[in-house]
Subunit: 457 residues, 2 copies
């Protein structure tokens, strides 16, 4: 077997997916609809189009069409950095001395350094097609902002990025990459928006959060003609675009007759996990196959494992629609000492529903153990992983070590969403031995959950 499966499985261009897969079409219990926070009623397309591009609103609301064609222009862009390799982790297997066979889908081989580009180009394309001037967005670790800047540069669209303040300060080079691609980058919360000024007044000295940057970006999009807001995770449309990850993975595995036993992905807002598992979950939903699917989240921001399944705002400023999801409450802000990414308080409504219905498991892992796994992976497999991706590595290693005990030759597939080249401040903390684990208390979580909006749905 070892001789048959190459270190990296690449698809040819003619094997690349031509359609995205829409998980919702096969879900019996559909994700609950977005609600208008003012009325408590499900949002209609017309209420969303001032915020989002028209075609993306259509994709956001479509829970019946299983396959949606990828426009040729986007497929051409994908060819610049896709297909991404599915790597057989021979060296890691050897280092762990495990009978498990480990595969990872590596999405970091592009300048944005992650899978985010898959949805960035789609969203930028539809904005361009609609004749818009530009888009606004938020970015945390900076992966999404970089991805969007690249897509906008390619299509000649203006790009305004609100970057979570702590990342802006810890990652000056991320900002410079975005500038190189022509984007303007503002640390959030900022004085540039009403909601930013309000948050700064209430929490002077805050290091920011994704939820807060989202509020600012939405405000600017709504107030500036010719602009719309785009988001790199959480949304249904994003999971749709990211399904390319899973579709390629499945095609690559099928070529070598490999059936995964366990599929593992890190989960912040859910974009990578939702994309990676899409075609496998399809088979599971249709009763055609079974897989163990594990979401891995940071112990410092544990929406699945310690949050509640309820309607909540996606943003801190509470100007976004309400979404039913696993959430820690939109006022929850993870410790500033958390360096591992995945800082979002909520979770994709699709994944939340699937988790609620028992189709997925979730585990929370602590950041020092995540960086330990990251360094082991870097030294054996060569690639320096993003902290986010390293959550999946941690759990993949843990599962492989269980196989070592039981002697089972399980096939483990995980998503290596990106590289850590702009996360060296975090690595330095780990290398210096000054990294700590930052776990919220039950009281902290209860307090922010107590502030959830009251919704009857």
């Amino acid at each position: 077997m070892k001789d048959k499966i190459p270190y990296k499985i690449y698809l040819n261009e003619d094997e690349m997916p031509t359609h995205w897969y829409n998980l919702r079409a096969d879900m019996k219990n559909k994700p609950s609809p977005l609600l208008n926070p003012a009325t408590g009623k499900p949002l209609k397309a017309g209420e969303l189009t001032p915020i989002f591009c028209e075609e993306l609103v259509k994709q956001e609301l479509d829970d019946t069409t299983p396959f949606i064609e990828i426009p040729k222009e986007i497929r051409d862009f994908y060819k610049m950095y896709r297909p991404s390799p599915l790597v057989r982790a021979y060296c890691l297997e050897e280092a762990l001395d495990t009978p498990a066979k480990i595969y990872y889908k590596f999405e970091g081989n592009n300048t944005s350094g992650s899978h985010k580009l898959n949805s960035a180009i789609a969203q930028a394309y539809y904005a361009k097609k609609q004749g818009l001037k530009g888009v606004t967005t938020e970015t945390g670790a900076g992966q999404w902002g970089t991805a969007l800047s690249m897509a906008c540069a390619y299509l000649n669209l203006d790009c305004k990025v609100f970057m979570v303040k702590i990342s802006y300060e810890q990652k000056p080079f991320r900002r410079e990459v975005m500038r190189t691609y022509g984007a303007s980058v503002v640390p959030s919360p900022s004085e540039a928006t009403e909601v930013g000024r309000k948050i700064l007044a209430e929490h002077p000295g805050t290091t920011g959060s994704l939820g807060c940057a989202i509020s600012e970006a939405v405000e600017v999009a709504v107030k500036n003609p010719g602009y719309r807001y785009v988001l790199g995770s959480v949304l249904n449309q994003v999971l749709l675009h990211q399904s390319i990850i899973g579709l390629e993975t499945k095609t690559a595995l099928d070529k070598y007759d490999v059936k995964p036993d366990i599929i593992i992905g890190c989960a912040g807002g859910g974009s990578n996990l939702g994309g990676l598992i899409a075609p496998f979950m399809r088979e599971k939903l249709r009763g055609e196959a079974d897989y163990r699917i594990i979401a891995v989240e940071p112990a410092s921001c544990p929406s699945f494992t310690r949050g509640t399944f309820a309607y909540d705002f996606a943003d801190t400023g509470m100007i976004c629609p309400l979404a039913k999801m696993y959430t820690l409450g939109s006022s929850f802000i993870p410790s500033a000492n958390h360096a591992g990414g995945l800082r979002f308080h909520g979770m994709s409504t699709i994944l939340s529903q699937l988790y609620h219905d028992g189709y997925m498991e979730a585990v929370a892992v602590e950041q020092t153990s995540v960086f330990e796994a990251a360094v082991q992976f870097a030294r054996t497999e060569g690639i320096l992983p993003a902290p986010e991706s390293s959550h999946a590595i941690r759990t993949a290693i843990d599962e492989a070590l269980k196989c070592k005990k039981t002697g089972e030759e399980k096939n483990i597939v995980f998503g290596l969403t990106g590289t850590g080249y702009f996360d060296l401040v975090a690595y330095q903390k780990y290398n210096d031995g000054t990294m700590t684990d930052e776990i919220p208390t039950d009281e902290e979580i209860a307090a922010s959950i107590a502030r959830l909006p009251k919704v009857d749905a």
Copy 2:
């Protein structure tokens, strides 16, 4: 044609080269031998083995064996990040509106961010095989140091890196990557060596140079039992290992019946250029085919275009063997405002001989025009290139624009040696408009050339 050639040509594992190609075997005028600076006589293997590993000394001195087998262990490591893609630059061609067809061999898809890993793993492997404890080296931009750290981590070898001080300060994150892979990193010149202390006394406040860092690394290797020195460029053995770049490129082009008209590579010490052109130069040397081959160097460190062909030291401390090469003099230190890499005063003896014999051309380009090309490339092709690689981009674009004028559909191949993710200080300078061109005066070059050692050979 456009529909036939994919955006990226990947080889399968069974198409990957099994042998390195040794250019010297086909050269009529062999590169001049290394000389012992004390005696002025050609160095024998026994004089080199205190500095270099035995097998590498053999490779260094072998100018007759054309193909040398790549050990299986190294080929396995190569499979972790190779074959690298040969990319058809469809988007750049469109942006330039040129009839030329542009291809680039992209060596940046690994954590070291460049082609340097190709030789790092080979040198570390032979050190390990010889039973050594560790290796010492220098690094400038940090690509080589990172590559060597990765290779040493993989093989459990100790790794001591002297990093040119200006890079150490401008690239703290590079240092952190090396530390993550377990290497120790010292800014050069340092107080840790005799030669470092001497240079610091003579030039207090110097920002360092590759030549100076080499002296320090060699001193530590020679003085510490169980250690040898390794070098990422210039040497014959390095060009041998880097021939994998050209061999893969040629196989990929042959698959689609593409014959390059022009082959372009950046040239600092010559490792990438020598590797990229190897199989093409073979045909040229044997009269089987003809190609225009262009070395691109920075106007701030123009060894080919303004240097002299003479015996010189590879290091500032003048403790290394003498090599006959195009050189600006080992006391030449490029302006500290030069941010574009390729700061070495000399050049590979192989490439120097080939250039001297008329097999290659050379051009020098200024750094603002290099970064202009880099940004254009980033925005069209997606990849943020290393400043070094961007020298080749500059000239590839210039040649493609000539084709636009003449209407010629030339095939242009260039080496995209790496990514610029750790060069954002330089990009920031360019983005801020504060980058300047730094061209040495004739007097400056004459002064350092006047200090060349006197050798009759």
